[in-house]
């Protein structure tokens, strides 16, 4: 393939690899899947470059497909195990929410478990895909409680983000969703939530 030489480094547009006929190699590549143009049919540089690039495109395509399914080109199972070990060790449980006191001590639930319960509750409504959920409690006098403090279970306010099917009627869905989340959380934890904010952040096609 006859191309003009250029210095090392990233060439600016006017210094990109050009064929003897002056064409940019990128242009030849861009039309590689199309039949040759009138110029390309007659220009020896272009014909040679097209043949070279077509050859490269074929091998590249084969490599792309092969790589994806080649079991040798997957990381060993230890990689996942090591990642998950760290993830489990560093799981973010958040604050504790005291549920009841017994003679043996306090029974509480972590903020992370509570949000998992909320997402589970929301997902019991067909079509609702629960996404992120945050719990905020306002401390006495309306100030935000410091992050290290336990959740004030008498004043639990949540914001739940969901994706809904585009065919779902949103107003009645919000009513059912609030009822469902409120009821399941109350039954499972005895927490009666003060506020349930639901953000419909995405609609998906069905």
């Amino acid at each position: 393939m006859a191309v003009n030489d250029h210095p090392q480094g990233d060439p600016p547009r006017h210094e990109r690899p050009r064929l003897g006929c002056g064409r940019d190699l990128d242009e030849v590549w861009a039309s590689i899947d199309e039949p040759p143009s009138a110029h390309e049919q007659h220009c020896e540089d272009c014909r040679s470059a097209r043949a070279s690039l077509q050859n490269l495109a074929l091998i590249t395509g084969a490599m792309r497909e092969n790589d994806r399914v080649d079991p040798e080109l997957q990381p060993g199972s230890r990689v996942r195990e090591a990642i998950m070990m760290v993830a489990r060790a560093e799981i973010r449980r958040g604050r504790r929410a005291p549920l009841s006191r017994t003679e043996l001590g306090t029974i509480d639930i972590s903020e992370q478990a509570l949000t998992a319960l909320i997402r589970f509750a929301a997902s019991t409504l067909p079509g609702v895909r629960a996404r992120r959920c945050s719990i905020s409690t306002t401390g006495p006098g309306g100030t935000r409680a410091p992050s290290g403090d336990p959740v004030d279970v008498t004043d639990v306010r949540i914001t739940l983000r969901v994706a809904l099917p585009s065919t779902m009627r949103i107003p009645p869905a919000m009513v059912s969703l609030r009822e469902r989340v409120g009821a399941i959380v109350r039954t499972q934890t005895s927490i009666t939530m003060k506020q349930i904010d639901i953000v419909v952040e995405d609609l998906y096609d069905v």
Binding site: A51, I59, N66, A87, R92, A121, A130, R186, Q188
Partner: protein, 310 residues
């Protein structure tokens, strides 16, 4: 309990339906640029950059890069729709995929009524909230692609595996602060690419013997690689053609090692991982024109090198 129900807007708009006004009114959240208020954690450097480089449309980056993801079974939610009385005391938002030969299989409720495929943005969102099963699914979907990029960059299995591990651990730590879930995949590739380039720079300062994992001699070991790849290779190819094809791929892999790191990364991201020029510019943090230049240069080098194989 205060539970007033307010109607929300029509379908197609993102609305917040509040049952009670917030004590501190916050701006209407935008779903593509959500921020967690009051987390007290710093934004992770780099995440913001990616979010500002085209990751604005719903699903734009993830949807446009299908080839970056390995085929994985759908992540499903196990919605058994219990009455409040029989809700599972240990709730889970997804079912535990059991792994057979590295590929998870869904083993929970199987009827359509009880299981639902989840979209990737929902899975990323759940991983952001610390859902381990969602994170595990993301590893299954993307560890292969990240590993192959690193292997072709570094030509060393162990180093490539180390970078996959570091990249996902870093992702787990950064996920809560990722403001745009669509930027997750480019973020993974960007982190891995940076780590590869750092590794190569270190090697240049302290040269090491190449391990030749990707076949420094294209003619060597063709027979064994044919046997190895028989599982994944199309069965319809005739054996002679298949051997030739394997040898060509080996030659291309070896040739790649002769490319400078920058053009090699850009070429791999474009031709093997099928990112757009704009996405690659965001991943390698250079202007799009530079990306185009590097890829053109790589193509020229590779096309010339593959001439004997025509």
């Amino acid at each position: 309990m205060v539970q007033e129900h307010h109607d929300v807007g029509p379908a197609g708009s993102s609305r917040s339906a509040r049952s009670e006004p917030e004590p501190e009114p916050e701006p209407e959240p935008e779903w593509t640029a959500e921020r967690e208020p009051g987390t007290g954690e710093e934004q992770v450097p780099g995440l913001e950059d990616l979010t500002g480089s085209g990751a604005t449309g719903a699903g734009s980056l993830i949807a446009s890069t299908p080839a970056t993801k390995d085929p994985v079974p759908a992540f499903r939610s196990s919605d058994s729709r219990p009455s409040p009385e029989d809700a599972d005391p240990e709730p889970s938002t997804g079912t535990a995929p059991s792994r057979q030969g590295g590929v998870p299989e869904y083993t929970g409720p199987t009827s359509d009524e009880r299981s639902e495929e989840l979209d990737e943005l929902t899975i990323v969102a759940r991983a952001q909230d610390g859902d381990l099963q969602a994170f595990d699914w993301l590893i299954t979907a993307y560890q292969g692609g990240i590993f192959r990029l690193c292997l072709r960059m570094l030509n060393d299995r162990q180093d490539a595996e180390d970078i996959v591990q570091e990249t996902f651990i870093s992702a787990w730590r950064s996920l809560p602060n990722l403001t745009v879930p669509q930027a997750f995949v480019p973020w993974l590739y960007r982190t891995a690419t940076n780590k590869c380039l750092d590794d190569l720079r270190r090697r240049r300062r302290r040269p090491v013997e190449p391990t030749g994992d990707l076949g420094s001699d294209p003619y060597e070991d063709v027979e064994s690689s044919r046997g190895r790849n028989a599982v994944g290779a199309p069965a319809s190819l005739d054996p002679a053609r298949q051997v030739e094809s394997q040898a060509q791929m080996k030659a291309l892999a070896a040739l790649l090692q002769g490319l400078p790191a920058g053009p090699r990364a850009c070429w791999l991201l474009r031709e093997i991982h099928e990112f757009s020029y704009g996405e690659i510019a965001a991943i390698v943090q250079v202007p799009e024109s530079t990306v185009r230049g590097r890829i053109a240069r790589a193509k020229r080098f590779l096309a010339e090198g593959m001439e004997p194989w025509r």
